[in-house]
Amino acid sequence: MNSETSMLPVLIVLIPLVGGVLAPIIGRGIFGWLLALVTTGAATFVSGTLLLFIHAQNTLTPPFAISYPLGGWPAPHGIELKIDLLSALLATLVSGMGFMVTLFSRQGVDDEIPADRRRFFWSLWLLAITGLLGILITGDAFNVYVLLEISSLTIYGLIAMGRQRNRQALTAALNYLVLGSVGASFILIAIGLLYAKTGTLNMADIHAKLLLAPVDATVLTARAFLLAGVALKMALFPLHLWMPAAYSTAPSAVAALLAATATKVGIYMGMRFIFSVFAMSGGAALSEANILIIGICCGAAIIFGSLSAARQPSLSLLLAYSSVAQIGYIVVGMTVGHIDAMTGSILHMVFHALIKGGLFLCAGILIYRLGTTRLEDLAGLGQRMPWVSGAIVVGGLGMIGIPGTAGFVSKFYLLKGLILSGHPVLAGLVLIGSVLAAIYTWRFVEIAYLRPAEDTPLRNGLPFEKFLPVLLLLGASIYLGLQPGAIIDVAHDAAQQLLGGSP
């Protein structure tokens, strides 16, 4: 690594961290928003640079990852930042989504958060992004726990700030706090057991020592606790109960950020621990029994999530339950440990973040202009807000996976991987899920385009600064659906690194 890039890894967390600390001091008025915009923008630039750098190096000399010893203490005794392709890709995604949603939310925060709280809102906002980015780039198991709690605690606070609009935000935040803390505690237990077994906290070192030792009850218990804790954090069915309430009552900007990034980071933790820490010698990370159990959870998530989405009373809840289903797709792809399925899984993380982020921003615009996302009140939306409802339909098509949208590319790889690895039933579930996605998307289309418009006046016009991020996100999802070559390359190489180079 040359001198220009040598400091970049630590900057990814340092920039939003400094921003988060500064926000309560200088974040009054518009400055909080500007600070958030600048810091998330800078973090996006840094992680994007690293992504390009690592991808280029990885093409020359695979597998390539950047290791940065914090404070100059070399691993395994010091804390190591370790960035491989997957970390860099998701760090770019998280900081980029943070930037987009920040761009969206200047007015939104003015509407939904009282003036004296706004600078604290921006502080929590940036600290949450710090925690999420930190989890992605650290190579130290205990560090993962601490950063997870940093992001979680700030996110509980951010959700609770929705109480101005809906008092259920408080109970939703408290529910999430209780379940999220239990999940994080499970992860803490797992890390403790791993430490007891190996005497180290560095993930690569734990993996190396686990390979030498026979698999015993300690390791299996650690893995069980870890999978349960991570499943809670990523809201995998049946541990998703905190999610719909939290997404639908949080301030609209927070809902978009959470849907696009927080669960993805949970899934990243799962991938990282399963494949970079627990993977046994010979490559198999999960036993057939594990795959069966997780596969059942994913199948249930896809079916139950999609069916629930089709009968929700409001667009926010519909989107939240659809996220439950989409998590099922992503996890099923990573579970089977096949290169194509893993590629599909990584692609789906990126595309789902873009699409669902864009859709939650549309829900935010509805709240801004109508004051509600109740589907009954959206009758005739196609005439009243042609741009916004058009965007929602485009996002819905992406979730179904119509050819030409990004969702098609990721589902294609998922299906290919699931069939090639000998799991046709799971592949069938993915297809059924797409049909069900068509049902709940059609439900919106039917209400918005085939019902007569109501004549309740709109509160506000369509502000360009709110619609721009929606355009960019959904535009990116369509562009990547039509020109998927580059992103498939990155996802494929990332999957290969994660699976240890075995094809």
């Binding site: 609770a160 408080l170 209780v178 239990v182 430490y195």
Partner: protein, 123 residues
């Protein structure tokens, strides 16, 4: 495994399960939070027990010291986890204050009833 470790291992599981049970079974939000705290305290005890060595002493370098030290790393880790647990508790109690202001109760079942009534009113 020494007697101390055996006793601790049983103790931390019992404490954790007591906490988890309280968390699930109680409707009072403050009691739920206390259950969460108890659950996490059990984990602290687990970590502390990990560092124990028979006849180990505090890891301070001194003349003619015995060779066995207690492992300080789990203690350092758990210091961090205690801070996290404290912050979680603080955030939870702050949220409960908000819930009390908005709903006038801190019983989870009563809050659920109120929310359901709200939803029917809106429909």
């Amino acid at each position: 495994m020494s007697l101390f470790e055996t006793f601790n291992s049983i103790a931390f599981v019992v404490i954790m399960m007591l906490g988890l049970y309280t968390l699930i079974a109680r409707q009072n939000l403050v009691k739920k939070t206390l259950g969460l705290g108890l659950f996490q305290t059990g984990i602290f005890l687990m970590y502390i027990t990990l560092g124990v060595r028979d006849d180990g002493v505090a890891p301070i370098l001194q003349e003619g010291a015995p060779l066995t030290y207690t492992n300080p790393l789990p203690h350092v880790l758990i210091l961090t986890a205690i801070v996290v647990s404290l912050s979680t508790m603080a955030v939870a109690l702050a949220l409960i204050i908000g819930v009390r202001e908005e709903y006038g109760t801190i019983e989870a079942d009563e809050i659920a009833t109120i929310d359901r009534a709200d939803a029917e009113e809106g429909a």
